[in-house]
């Protein structure tokens, strides 16, 4: 049998992320896919992809922990699940040895988590029900503007005169965007305004203690948002390695914490080895 690995599966509303770590807590493999409509199949595909990257197979898994909205839908996981807030905190505790504020921008929700100097979760906040400041907001705007999501970061950096958007509401923001288009505003200026709106919303959610770290898919693909956040909080904001995988890595750290290796290796239905 190969060296045991520890797996974290983060089945989010938008993307499924899997991280594989070794006993030394280093990331050996990872994968990200759209969650789609079959969470279990997507998780299985992500798992196999990340295990392959780690140079191992399912029988090498010592333990696995799931998290995210679909955490109960991982058919082959019999281990416990944890909340994404718990996993992000676990990740932060492992990576930072000082008080930090983790700001995670996900597909449909934002989280602000404050860890004290001992790595304990001091408090957390999630956004209210609306989508302002989330990945869903940027996805909606990219559709409205007919701009690929992956092109937004570069476009925002080209802005010379940012357009400011005032509304909390995604739908009203879309109206504002259309109004700015009618008035001849340049697309880069509008996109920067959208980024600014996202940053403003998440920074307004809570006060910040210690250094600020940003995680999640939105900042992974749009690092300019992190730079803007740094300007707004008056100190450089940390963009960690694997920002989109922070929750999955946290889950894998929980898996490593477990002493009883009951994980998933004996519970893999035959049909679920391929996504």
């Amino acid at each position: 049998m190969s060296t045991p690995v520890f797996v974290g599966l983060d089945i989010g509303s938008s993307r499924t992320k899997v991280a594989v770590i070794g006993a030394d807590r280093q990331v050996l493999g990872h994968a990200v896919r759209k969650s789609g409509t079959d969470f279990s199949a997507t998780a299985a595909a992500c798992l196999d992809e990340s295990l392959e990257m780690a140079g191992t197979r399912r029988d090498g898994i010592a333990h696995a922990v799931s998290t995210g909205y679909g955490r109960a839908n991982v058919g082959f996981v019999t281990a416990e699940s944890k909340t994404e807030i718990g996993c992000l905190s676990r990740w932060g505790r492992d990576r930072f040895h000082e008080a930090v504020t983790i700001i995670d921008i996900g597909g449909q929700d934002n989280k602000v988590i404050k860890l004290d100097g001992d790595g304990r979760r001091a408090s957390f906040k999630m956004n209210r029900k609306c989508a302002a400041g989330t990945g869903a907001f940027l996805e909606e705007m990219s559709l409205r503007l007919d701009i690929p999501l992956e092109a937004m970061d570069a476009l925002a950096r080209q802005s010379l005169e940012m357009v400011k958007l005032g509304s909390y509401c995604t739908v009203f923001s879309a109206t504002e965007v259309l109004e700015n288009i009618r008035h001849g505003k340049k697309v880069p200026d509008i996109v920067k305004g959208l980024f600014y709106s996202v940053v403003k919303r998440v920074l307004e959610m809570d006060s910040h203690a210690g250094r600020v770290v940003m995680t999640g898919g939105v900042v992974a693909h749009n690092p300019y948002i992190v730079e803007m956040a740094g300007e707004m909080v008056g100190q450089p904001v940390i963009l960690p390695e694997y920002p989109q995988l922070a929750g999955a890595i946290g889950a894998s750290l929980y898996a490593l914490d477990e002493t009883d290796p009951v994980g998933i290796r004996n519970n893999i239905p035959a049909g679920e080895t391929n996504g």
């Binding site: 909340t83 408090s123 957390f124 029900k129």
Partner: protein, 415 residues
Amino acid sequence: MAEEKKATRKKIHAADLMNKIMADYFYGLNEAATTGKRKVAWCTSVGPAELLQALGFAVHFPENHAAMLGATRTSTDLIPAANAIGYSPDICSYLTADIGAYLKGFTPLAKAYPGIQSVPKPDVLVYNTNQCRDVQDWMAWYSRKLGVPSIGVTSPKNVDEVTDAHIDDVTRQIEALIPTLEGIAGVKLDMDRLREAASLARECTELWKQVLETAIASPSPITFFDETIHMAPAVVLRGTQQAIDYYKVLLAELEQRIRDGVGAVDGESSRIYWEGMPVWGRLRQHSELFANLKSTVLASTYCSSWIFPSFDWNDPIRSMAKAYLELFIVRSDRYKEKYIKGMIEKFRIDGIIYHDAKTCPYNSNSRYGLPGRVEADTGIPSLVISGDLNDLRLISDEQTKTNIEAFIEQIAEGR
């Protein structure tokens, strides 16, 4: 698939008796309204019910009816009818659900109590704005619709210490109601009957307090979710002997649970305080969510709002005024902070959940920084959940679940 754990809710056997008492109450109201044998008054939950009882009125509480609409999850279908006639979706969803029910000719009483076809038609509407201004508007709508008088008490707000001046004011307002109510009732107020009603109300609320304080025990024999159901007699029947008799039975059962070491939640590992309204349409769901997390929500401001130690046989009207003014919702933030800190200590609370009810700002104490101040002073963590008492369109179940799970996880890891 990882199976969801299921917690079973432990039945409180006294509930059967309560159901009978409540059935008698609703049938009594129905008889009063349909036969005309007794006049019917509608009263807000902490309005001058004792006065109405002393004058012989059968008393209906629209807030109780609205909570039933919420608990039966019918309110969300009814609220739009009130919205359509101009009552905003942002105002009290008790009001909009109840008015919506009237507009649609619906009541859950008809299903629960065969033979009852509608809420009892009122002869008079009586309010006390100690809850909010919405109750006055609520009664005003029925007053216009049904052509019956709406009278009441306008209470001061943000009261820090209840002073003689406050009590004098409300006493005079209650006294001013008497001639009108006597005219409608067709009888003069018998002060001995009022003394008796005030005395019975005090005994009822003292027993209710003892019921709530059984939750001091570890494990707690009762949860907040049970309490929201079992407080019904304290709300609608305070001032009557039935409520007193009921709480003696309930108290005995809970004390037996304590002696037997039986907790409402198996394996209680954290003790939670609930601040704000319940989400009526999610009582079962929330109860099971916490039970699955081995967490007991065991004390609340809401259920403690029917404790009136000031009712005094010797001075019934003035003591009613004092009791209504001492209500938590009427008080200043300074008082509220002190009160909540006292409850944390008394019930040995591990965490507080504030329900920010979209349509009930008066019962949402999470909007002016109070949670942060209490947390800073006590070190007890808190969580604010967004929701509503009756309008289920304002609730995200998944976000609520994630927040609560993460909060209980945080409490567990903080130990």
